[in-house]
Every structure is written in C-alpha cells, then in structure tokens.
Amino acid sequence: MWAVCYTATASAQLTIDITRGADKPRRIAVSPFSWAGLARSEPLSDIVRKDLTRSGQFDVYPATQMLSLPTVESEISYFEWRKLGVEYLLVGQVRKKDKTHITYILYDITNQRALFKRRREIRHPNAMRQVAHAVSDHVYEVLTGDRGVFSTHLLYILHCAKSRCPDWGYRLVLADVDGANAKTVLESTQPIVSPNWAPDGKKVAYVSFERRRPEIYIQELATGNRHRLPSFAGLNSAPAWSPEGRRMALVLSKGDNPDIYIMNLVSGELLRVAPHFSIDTEPAWTPDGENIIFTSDRGGTPQLYRVNLRSRKITRLTYKGRYNARATIFPDNSGIVFVHRAQKRFHIAMMNWRPKNMLVLTDTVMDESPSISPNGNMLLYATQRGNRGILVSIPVNGGKSTKLVSLKGDVREPRWSPFLR
C-alpha cells in the first residue's frame, strides 16, 4: 500500500511525495538517454542506474533485459513495461544546439502518466557525472520523499605502504559518493587521520602527523588554504565541528589523560567537557548542538556517554558488550551508529533513542568509522577484506551492500559530506 500526497516545495514546484513500507524495493527502469548534437561523453543512464541501485530503495531493471529503449513518450509501450514488472520508467535526451540541455521524464507505468518532466541547461559539459547524479537525486526525492545524496561527497584516507609509495603514504581524498572524481586534498609521508567536514561542506578538519605529532588542521577545499589549530602537548585529535560551525569539539591530553574540549573557533577559548582521569575521545555533536556523545573507558571498558553541555549531566548510553565506541548521530537525532565488539569481532551497530534498542548492521569483521549520509538513509563504513582496507556502503534499513575499493592501497575513515547546495 502507498500513501501519495502532493506538496509544494519552496520553489513552488509540484512534487509527489510517495512513501510506503520498506518491504519491497520499487522496480524502476532507466532507458539509455539519447544524445544529439554532441558526442556521448558519459554513460548517464548507467550512472543513474548505479546510483539508484546503491540506495537500496529500488529494484533497478537491468538495461540488458529491456525489450525497447524509449527516449520519448511516443516510444513507450506501457503494456510491455508492466509485463516486466516495471513500476517507473525514466527516459531522457541530451541535446546541443546553442546551449546543451538535458530533458528527462519519469513515467508511472501503472497509471500511464508522467510524474515529472524536467529540462535543465548543462553549463559544464565536462561535468556530465554531476548531471547524472542530479537526475538521480531528483528521481529519488520524488519517489521516496527524502532528499537524494548522490550529489554529495566523501572524504576518506588512502594509505599506501611505504615500499610501494615512498613519496606519500597517506592521502586525504575528496570524491563523489560513488568514488569517482577523486581529488587529493592533502598528501603526506606521515599519518593523516580523523578527517571531518565543516557543516557548510566547504572546509575540512583532520589530524596530521607532519610535525611528528598529532595536530589538528582546518583546510578550505576550494583554495587549499589551511591552518593549524592552536596545539598543545600530547594529543590533539578527533576534531568535530559544532552544527552551527563556530565551535570545534576535540580531544586534548595536554600532557595528561585525553579529555574532550570545545574550542571556540573565533576566540580560541577552550572549555573542558566531562573531565575524567580515563580516556575520553571521539566527540560527536547532537544535531541541536546541545549534547556531545563521546567514548570513554571511565567505566572500565570503552562505552558511549552523552554529556549535556548546559547541565553537564553525563549519561551512559551503552551497556551491551565490552566495546562500544565512535558514535555518529543520525541527522534527525533518532539514534546513533557506532562500533560494537561482539564475539571478538568489530561490527557497526545502530541504537535508536525510542524505543531504545540495539541492532548490529554489518556482518563483516574489523568494521570501523561509521558515517551516515545526510538524508539518514545510508551507512558508509570502513572494513577489511584480506589485509586490504575497503569501504562499504549499505542502506540503513537493510539491503545490498556496495564495496568501494582502491587499487592503490587501503581506504579508511570515510566521512560523508553534508548536503552541498
């Protein structure tokens, strides 16, 4: 059963918001787009198909099994697509006259009608992949009611053994969510760890050992300009921007035990949060900016705690298992994902606040660094296959996983960007 409702968006466009139980992914076909007036530069429909498949919300009909390849409505046989069990069909054309445009139309096969038609100018013909991701975002939003994340980006660390890559060893990489368009943000022969996004998606923070000790840097992605945060003896690690972007939670040991601090990025003022003689690390802000969830072994084993920044009240969140660490909070603050150790294996687990239950999400081992897509629907994490570090993305509500591997080395510490527009 479905609920269909019509809502007017800010741009006064009529969108159709369809929700239904996550029982069965809806079957969609993406017919290859036609190209006129310019050479086909990227397999657009293929990119859209892969995007929608990775989301876990669609059963994407294979292009090889299509009986016809329509690019306009007159070529569509609704009967034929219905027999194939296809519920939605996307067709499109790329045309160049003076300017280059893409036109794409999503058809509802069951009701034999167009759900939307969109014509967009392509200003940068060498950014065709971005065009495809924007189409995927549009289709996803119309059919699920949630914003698509196919145009967002990833940060990750690429590590290559010294013997193979004597010149660098560590790279901080920025890429599209499908791993394409990878750009090196920073490279070093010394470790780079804990990359994280500013909430505006324009800056990143990370820990670099380039001065032979861990120190936090902030770097603007567009310009490459960077600066080191005021650094203290011992650990300077685990930077996490506050939701409004003016403060940074971080971990300092100052020659003693590691504690969570909040640095005001304007004044440089430091505030120590929840001090304890144990290890406190991995701070993560709740979306309202009022709490920090962190890992502490103050109870004897690493567990997750929440500190309210106003009342300073500290609440222990995890009890099941002897190792629960590195929380990431869902964008709607409905719960967290974190690293959970069970039967001597490390998995990614999820815990909702209401009802408060825990669910292990991954069946690989040595899983770490969970990151949630900005729409809350996808989980990305790092794991190992053989002795190789790889990334895996899975739909939070279950579904097939997609592995992201690099032929160059180990991939680690993925961080999904916020929405970028």
Binding site: W168, A175, P191, R211, D297, K344
Partner: protein, 183 residues
C-alpha cells in the same frame, strides 16, 4: 643473553654510537584473543563493487597540497627499545618495568632526550587507539619521571594504530603492535 638484553644493547649502542640495528620484536603473552579470520575474496571487482577512482588522475592540472614534512629517514623500530602492552591496557608489565629500569639508568648516565612513541593494535577505533597509544606513552613517561628522569628530556607522542610494525589480523601481529618505542 636474553632478548631484553639484546634490546638494551641496541639502545645503548644507539645512544653511544648513533647507530644500531633494527629490532626483532618479541610478542609478549597475549590476552587469549582468537585471531579474526577474514575471508580473502578475489581481488577482481565484483558486481556490487565500485573501484574508487585514482586521485592521481582525478583532476587534471589540480594542485595537490603536500604536507610540509621534514625529511624523516628513520624506519619504524630502528634503534628503539620497545615495551609491550596487553589489549586495551596501558599498565606496565613486569617485563616492561625491567626494560624501563635499564632505560632509567641510561638516561641518568647521559643527557639524552628521548621520544616515547605509543602505539596500539588495529582492533578498535582509530581515535580511541590514538588515546590508548598516548596513555601507554604517558605510562612509560610517568615511570621514568618517578625514577628520576627529568620530564623535559622525555617527549611522549602517540601514533595510535597508524604505524604498525607487524601486519595481519592475528594475535601475533597485534601483540607486536601494542607497544611504546623508546627512541
């Protein structure tokens, strides 16, 4: 001559002559953890697998920012005296104390400045392991200071799990990586 004495020799030699030989690390007794077995799948790209594009070729003409790194030529483990720890622990073992007593003597007989590089094994989260490596380095520092070594001649620093000396997902490798290197 036992293994610890070999380390001591290497350490002393490093101090006196400024050179030495790489250590062969002895894994300490473990906590009884079973190794995690990871199925080694084919390296070929599977249907549900995407190959990340190579950042080298990702952007034409874009400037890659390189960290301003001073040339560091030493190899991990070179010239180092090493003490080992149990999983998620920073307490000094009896064996570590023996080793450190020798280090104390060397420090008191010289004016050398040392770095204490704390490390963790690959299990658990990276930031936690960075903190754990720090706590291990501090644990060694505290022992040295308690025994009379001036604090300003000791520089503790943590590398977490980022600089392993042994690779592989088994206790033998992990045990060698849970360490503080005294350089």
């Amino acid at each position: 001559m036992n293994i610890r004495m070999i380390y001591l020799t290497a350490f002393l030699f490093a101090i006196v002559a400024g050179c030495g030989s790489p250590d062969v690390a002895p894994p300490p007794s473990d906590e009884g953890d079973d190794p995690i077995s990871i199925a080694d799948e084919s390296e070929a790209a599977l249907p549900d697998e995407d190959v990340l594009s190579d950042p080298d070729e990702g952007i034409a003409g874009a400037e890659i920012l390189s960290a301003d790194v001073e040339e560091i030529t030493e190899e991990v483990g070179d010239y180092a005296t090493i003490v080992y720890f149990d999983f998620d622990k920073s307490d000094l073992t009896a064996e570590a104390v023996n080793t450190l007593d020798t280090v104390v003597q060397v420090m008191l007989d010289s004016d050398r400045v040392i770095r204490l590089e704390g490390h963790a094994d690959a299990r658990g989260t990276r930031e936690y392991n960075l903190a754990l490596g720090e706590r291990r380095a501090m644990s060694v520092a505290d022992y040295l200071v308690f025994n009379g070594v001036p604090r300003d001649r000791i520089e503790p620093v943590s590398y977490g799990e980022e600089s392993p000396v042994a690779f592989g997902n088994n206790e033998a490798a992990w045990a060698q990586n849970r360490r503080v290197e005294i350089k």
